[in-house]
């Protein structure tokens, strides 16, 4: 089905940009899991030489947000956002790109994909990469081969990237369910969409960095009062506390 549908669940990820430390463990675990499973193998060209390249589903960018003292280094993992209105599904001429009705996961059927790459042009986020060995497009599967896999212990039936994050910056769940952990996180922290102006309605949400102590705030700390100031020290302290 390559026209838009409303799925029953909206399974997706919530990425916490406040706690992500940019270790890339999620990207490595994703690569390892998918090189062995459903999307196997993932190409790695010239892995030990110059000009290496390969297919990864999850990539970690690092941005500097703001300027000067109030700027913040934000590590930014990016993988398929399993959009509600995925143009990658609409443009696919063969129907190989599809969105599942039961849980909203967007997948590529590698048996019918012709490798025209139009889906990757339609995705504004760069979620899809071309496997030039297999001649087909590949992308994050939301670890569909883990989350329903009865051969794994129940606690392990979460995407590989979520399982491995040492900073608990990745969360998995049903964003259509307002009582789910992920939905509550999004509501509490003001989770947002990427490029909302394009109207793809991504399901994955990003939690913004918290306004932190000093570094996150735009206001400079109040200047220390001059030593010659005749005001009583307790009153000067009170002044500082009330000015913060």
């Amino acid at each position: 089905m390559t026209s838009y549908l409303v799925s029953r669940k909206k399974l997706g990820l919530v990425i916490d940009l406040d706690t992500c430390v940019g270790c890339h463990a999620c990207a490595v675990n994703c690569k390892e899991w998918n090189t062995g499973g459903h999307s196997a193998p993932l190409p790695d060209h010239n892995p030990y030489a110059a000009h290496t390249s390969g297919v990864w589903f999850n990539r970690i960018h690092t941005f500097e947000a703001g300027e000067g003292e109030s700027s913040r280094t934000v590590h930014f993992p990016k993988s398929c956002l399993h959009c509600e209105q995925p143009a990658c599904v609409e443009v696919c001429p063969t129907g190989a790109s599809y969105k599942r009705e039961e849980d909203g996961i967007v997948l590529v059927n590698a048996d019918t994909c012709i490798g025209c790459k139009l889906c990757s042009w339609a995705c504004p986020y760069g979620a899809r990469e071309f496997d030039d060995d297999a001649g087909v497009m590949k992308k994050c599967t939301l670890c569909i081969d883990r989350i329903y896999n009865e051969n794994l212990a129940e606690a392990e039936r979460i995407p590989a990237c979520v399982a491995t994050c040492p900073a608990q910056a990745r969360h998995f769940g049903d964003l259509a369910d307002p009582a789910s952990e992920v939905s509550m996180l999004v509501a509490a922290r003001g989770g947002y969409d990427l490029m909302p102006e394009l109207g793809y309605k991504p399901v994955n949400k990003y939690l913004p960095p918290r306004a932190g102590r000093g570094g996150g705030s735009a206001a400079a700390p109040p200047p220390l009062p001059a030593a010659e100031n005749g005001v009583h020290p307790v009153l000067r302290w009170l002044d500082r506390v009330l000015s913060r």
Binding site: L17, I60, G66, P93, W121, M137, L194, P209
Partner: protein
């Protein structure tokens, strides 16, 4: 966007072929063309050769070309699928048109086949253009100048081919040369407006909207996710310097518009062998000019994914 040679050749060749087919269908039904059946069948054959060659070239772009037949199934939702379906369908009236014209059958049957060919040829070019125009992440493509440009350039290149074919056959029609000149001027205007749109407008997407971190101020890439190339950068990271693009635009204008216009007007002014040479020369010039224009169409297109790799605007 990476300019893929197979797609550039496909859209240029098939654009000319469909333009030629559309004009043959329309003009013969209006009795603007000679009734000569060998002229008719040769002209349609040349058009179909351009189209078929183009379509086959486009399969070189696929990762799994042996599965290309699957691309006809999603015409309800995909412009690429619709283009495939329309391109196949357009062979039906085109071959009927050729057969009826060759058989010398009566006006009504040929006219109907001709008009059906015209409609399907135009529809196919429109579907091709919409493949690009429907893509929101590419601001330079996501506007009405793209289908206008594809249709106008298809008409123009088809008209230049038609004028050359008529002169080759010794069957010059001044009205066709005037039509070709007008088509060139129209396509030139459309292309200039399309380039103006590219030069003066920007996508609403920015590094701030791409990351959602704009509340803190300007967002810039601090470290890329990988030190080496990947598919995204190879396919979507292509950049051309503005001064190189400007030079190529001038070359495209000279080869695709100025030279063919001068030569087409010349075919009205001179006779015999000189007119034939002018008309024939216009064909390779317009095709090379269109290859340059199409190359630029890809090279000047910027994809929003580059916002994640350090681009400040797209």
């Amino acid at each position: 966007m990476h300019p893929a040679l197979s797609v550039i050749v496909f859209t240029t060749a098939s654009g000319a072929g469909y333009g030629l087919l559309a004009l043959l269908g329309l003009l013969s039904s209006a009795s603007w063309l000679p009734a000569d059946r060998w002229l008719g069948v040769s002209a349609i054959a040349i058009a179909l050769t351009l189209i078929t060659g183009g379509l086959l070239a486009s399969t070189a772009h696929l990762g799994r070309p042996e599965r290309a037949w699957r691309a006809f199934s999603q015409w309800r939702s995909s412009w690429l699928s619709r283009e495939g379906v329309m391109s196949l369908l357009s062979y039906v009236p085109a071959l009927a048109f050729a057969g009826l014209w060759f058989a010398g059958s009566g006006g009504a049957a040929v006219a109907v086949a001709g008009l059906a060919t015209t409609l399907l040829a135009i529809a196919t070019v429109y579907c091709t253009a919409m493949i690009y125009a429907s893509l929101k992440p590419i601001h330079q493509w996501h506007n009405a100048w793209v289908p206008a440009g594809y249709l106008a350039l298809s008409l123009m290149s088809g008209a230049v081919w038609l004028n050359a074919l008529l002169l080759t056959w010794g069957a010059q029609r001044p009205a066709i040369a005037v039509l070709a000149a007008a088509a060139i001027v129209l396509a030139w205007w459309v292309k200039l407006r399309a380039w103006r749109y590219v030069d003066t407008t920007r996508s609403p997407s920015t590094p701030e909207s791409a990351t959602g971190l704009g509340s803190r101020g300007k967002v810039r890439l601090f470290e890329a996710p990988h030190t080496e190339d990947n598919y995204l950068l190879q396919e979507m990271g292509y950049r051309i310097a503005r001064k190189h693009a400007a030079k190529l635009r001038r070359i495209a204008v000279a080869l695709a518009f100025v030279a063919p216009l001068v030569l087409t007007v010349l075919t009205l002014a001179v006779d015999g062998a000189a007119a034939f040479v002018a008309a024939a020369l216009a064909v390779p010039l317009v095709m090379i000019g269109l290859l340059v224009e199409r190359w630029l169409f890809f090279a000047e297109a910027k994809h929003t994914v580059t916002l994640y790799y350090g681009a400040e605007t797209v």
